[in-house]
């Protein structure tokens, strides 16, 4: 699934990462706990979260996460968008809740880590 397809499914806005729309995404992780995100082992991943602090971007940086989707219409600050842009991470925002956003992507075939 590409980032463009994720934007379509979630009816999301894109704040940065216009050059990454064709990037292939193989898995997703939905969490507000960065501690749990840091234990996620898959690659070509996106992160769905309701947290909008700089550590979300830092965590994504360490994890090589390609894109972050902020849920519930949580608009990231300019600082956050710039931080992500500097690290080649795409930033999206959807009005859907974390549960619904994850459900929509799962329904469309995206999978997570099975523990």
């Amino acid at each position: 699934m590409t980032i463009q397809e994720i934007i379509n499914i979630l009816e999301a806005d894109l704040f940065c990462g216009e050059d990454m729309l064709n990037k292939d995404i193989l898995s997703a992780c939905g969490s507000d706990l960065m501690s749990d995100v840091l234990a996620f082992v898959k690659d070509h991943t996106i992160l769905l979260t309701g947290l909008t602090n700089p550590h979300v971007i830092r965590t994504a940086e360490m994890m090589d996460i390609a894109a972050i989707v902020f849920v519930r219409g949580k608009r990231p600050s300019e600082e956050i968008i710039q931080m992500a842009a500097d690290r080649n991470i795409a930033v999206l925002m959807t009005r859907h809740s974390l549960f619904v956003a994850c459900g929509l992507l799962y329904q469309s075939g995206l999978r997570g880590e099975v523990l």
């Binding site: 960065m34 550590h55 830092r58």
Partner: protein, 145 residues
Amino acid sequence: METTDNVTMCQYYSIEAGNFTLAGEAAGQIKNNLKQLGIDAALVKKVAIASYEAEMNLVIHSNGGRLIFKINPKVITIIAQDDGPGIKDIELAMKEGYSTAPDTARELGFGAGMGLPNMKRCADRFVIRSEEGKGTEVELSFNLS
């Protein structure tokens, strides 16, 4: 400990207690160093995650400390040292889900009690030494071949 002759590169980052704004800078720099050295991406990710966890632990739990990054042709070593307060029960601290982190850390998405277990999972070798009232040292090694 390897002798200084074996160290191809060594970097030292001072980590300030409670400074959540800067937390992650050192781990980010370590990650960039490794990428520039052409280290395999999967290994870079493991070192980056463990370094970030170690750095966050210094910021959240210590009275201040340092993160040391060393690389030689065989191994990457990350050492997190602090000036206290030390860990009373290491076995308990190693338990997944056990945490003593304050709300300031939890609000940022940390303090879930996964840091030390996650560092151990990422590294090929994990050593923790701690003395209450003195300090803690975590040494992580990652094999290069």
